[in-house]
Symmetry: C2
Subunit: 396 residues, 2 copies
């Protein structure tokens, strides 16, 4: 009786969810800041706390998922604003080898483990694919917090994340193809790859050229006194398009940031995007925690499997990326290797597809989700220690 308007629209409950998640994430941030620990970890653990795993105040529904997605979209848009195409070109060869080796080694490891555990070929392929995709959102946030986004190692990680995402897209297509039809449609996968690469090349090269030629383009619309809204519309559009063709939305957002940064005077854009960057990303970090289910892990065998999968995920990604970056020297290669370790939302999505199609079971799904959460919790403190270590890193 008290809430006839609210109850009928459901909006009251959704607003309350958003409030609870934002408040919890920022309290987690505050606590970890006071403890001098990485704030992202505080936000993720706040999500674990209010989510189904502990208190059950909030369920990870569609609206929170969109806020989480916009969180990582605005995070990578922000990173893109800080990045020039020439920066990426400079580290291109290293980023390519980091991306490729950082995909091949975990994929081989995951498939091998899957087959050793007696899974079907399709399930083993899914496990491999779920171990592949780096979630660059976590690492980006740490790099911003440590103020090292302009280092060569940071740019290598960003470039490698793009390569990584293209390859992950293809491997998921392969795994889904094997699961659905028992075989691989090479032609369709080639088209997927061609579209993804054409999109990235077209936006990165064409977009920056366009704004180099017409740097006042974003100020042209009269609806906005500043370039903010045109820039945000471009960001949303490229993020949506990237995710429609199967890439991560954040690749589109990152490219949008890079293109917009070519505009005449992009410092007001940074100042204006900052509130969106403050508002949305906490939902992304907390959402990772919201997805964790502890009930499925309350079993010795499952915990052992989780330990094994997590160790494999960390070791193979670190090893592959380290090998790919070795020409930068061991110290920098180790930084790049650690930076590529977080799986976050991407591994969860891949495992979700495998679970939805019946290829991998609920237990293995819960293990992959927990592995993704664990890798996002491990990386921030390690990266932090590497940056603030007594002898400063040589990569600047």
């Amino acid at each position: 009786m008290l809430t006839p308007l609210a109850a009928s629209s459901g909006v009251a409950g959704l607003l309350t969810d958003l409030f609870v998640v934002l408040l919890a994430a920022k309290l987690g941030d505050e606590l970890f800041r006071r403890l001098r620990q990485p704030t992202i970890v505080g936000e993720i653990l706040a999500g674990v706390l209010v989510g189904p795993a502990v208190l059950g105040l909030v369920d990870p529904g569609e609206v929170l998922q969109v806020f989480a997605e916009l969180g990582v979209v605005f995070l990578l848009f922000w990173v893109g604003l800080e990045t020039k195409l020439s920066d990426l070109r400079e580290v291109g060869a290293t980023a390519l080898s980091v991306g490729v080796l950082g995909v091949v080694v975990p994929f081989a490891g995951g498939v091998g483990l899957g087959l050793a555990l007696g899974l079907s070929t399709a399930a083993a392929l899914f496990l491999g694919a779920a171990l592949v995709a780096t979630s660059v959102g976590i690492t980006s946030a740490v790099l911003i917090e440590l103020d090292v986004l302009d280092r060569r190692t940071s740019r290598t990680i960003l470039g490698a994340a793009i390569v990584d995402d293209i390859l992950a897209l293809l491997l998921v297509a392969v795994a889904a193809g094997v699961a659905a039809a028992g075989g691989i449609d090479v032609g369709s996968i080639a088209i997927t790859a061609a579209i993804a690469i054409a999109f990235i090349g077209f936006v990165a090269l064409g977009g920056t050229k366009l704004l180099e030629a017409r740097p006042a383009l974003l100020q042209a619309p009269r609806f906005s006194e500043s370039p903010l809204l045109p820039a945000v519309i471009i960001c949303l559009g490229l993020a949506a398009f990237a995710s429609q063709i199967g890439l991560a939305a954040i690749i589109g957002a990152f490219l949008a940031g890079m293109v917009v940064a070519e505009t005449r005077d992009h410092s007001p854009i940074r100042a204006e995007v900052e509130p969106l960057y403050a508002f949305f990303p906490p939902f992304f970090f907390a959402f990772i925690g919201l997805e964790l289910s502890l009930a499925a892990l309350a079993d010795g065998g499952v915990l052992l499997l989780l330990a094994g999968v997590t160790a494999l995920a960390v070791a193979t990604k670190f090893g592959g990326a380290y090998l790919g970056a070795i020409r930068m020297g061991r110290r920098d290669a180790a930084f790049v290797g650690v930076g590529m370790v977080p799986r976050g939302e991407v591994g969860i999505i891949v495992a979700g597809i495998g679970n939805a199609t019946g290829t991998i079971d609920a237990e293995l799904f819960a293990v992959v989700v927990a592995m993704s959460v664990l890798t996002t919790l491990i990386v921030p403190p390690v990266l932090r220690r590497m940056v603030v270590a007594p002898a400063p890193a040589t990569a600047t």
Copy 2:
């Protein structure tokens, strides 16, 4: 095959919806700005265009509804930042009479029309309640655009909107009670009223007192270098709470803005909230248009009913509010009367409850929705003309 990640999560489609709605709204804004027409009308009509009524590109789902709600929440938060409690006290008596008469007259008119049309008592009560609630979001946006938010007439409208919303809450409770039980539970309605009034009084008086006493409170958390996020968390929390107790979320947001404006130096808050205020409200305006269905109106009898209901809605609200404000002089009373006319989302929600409970039929529901959209389209140009009229309004 092309979108395995996206298709499974559904997020790609939702991001695309957000992009299409934001782009359409801002193109509508741009067009109407170039035509020197009220930009809000352009945004609403853009929603009609991309929505089910015309092109059918986007359906008004839950995610868009939350973005629309946050749009009007940040709009009223912005208005609250511009308003002092003392401003409202000054116009208190007039606002009260505008609010009361602006509710009683349309309610009586709606119930009378319903009974004359042969509706059941419960349905007639719902029609009356749907004609009651002013959507102050539309008027606020026009007042901001015309830069007259600090006039006495504008403050009277804001104060009256609070009174209006409390009374609307009670009338909906009455209508829902009659529909469900065939009678009115006076005790429960008294409790609803007491909670609503206590919430508003407590926040408005206690909140401003607290921040007068400790003006640096919002700078206390370390997670934020600026007061933006603490302010946004307060806004979301009060909006969620208001809508949980059955008030409009915007009442909570408006109060939050007023309280936050008491903080030591609130000019940085305004600058920082501005991007959120640029990003979210277009979803609110476009969403009003998205909800319109033309199919249900393709009938002469229904169109006649729509004309009658709309004329009644405009005349009774204008008349009641005009009478309530008459002590301000006829010119200002007319301005207040016009400013109270838009129904927007509130009438739609009320009619939705009536429709969901089977009390009013789909045809009458479509009529109420169309009436709400029409009143939001009529008001901006009229208010604009009243402000820019040759002889300037005396109220400043």
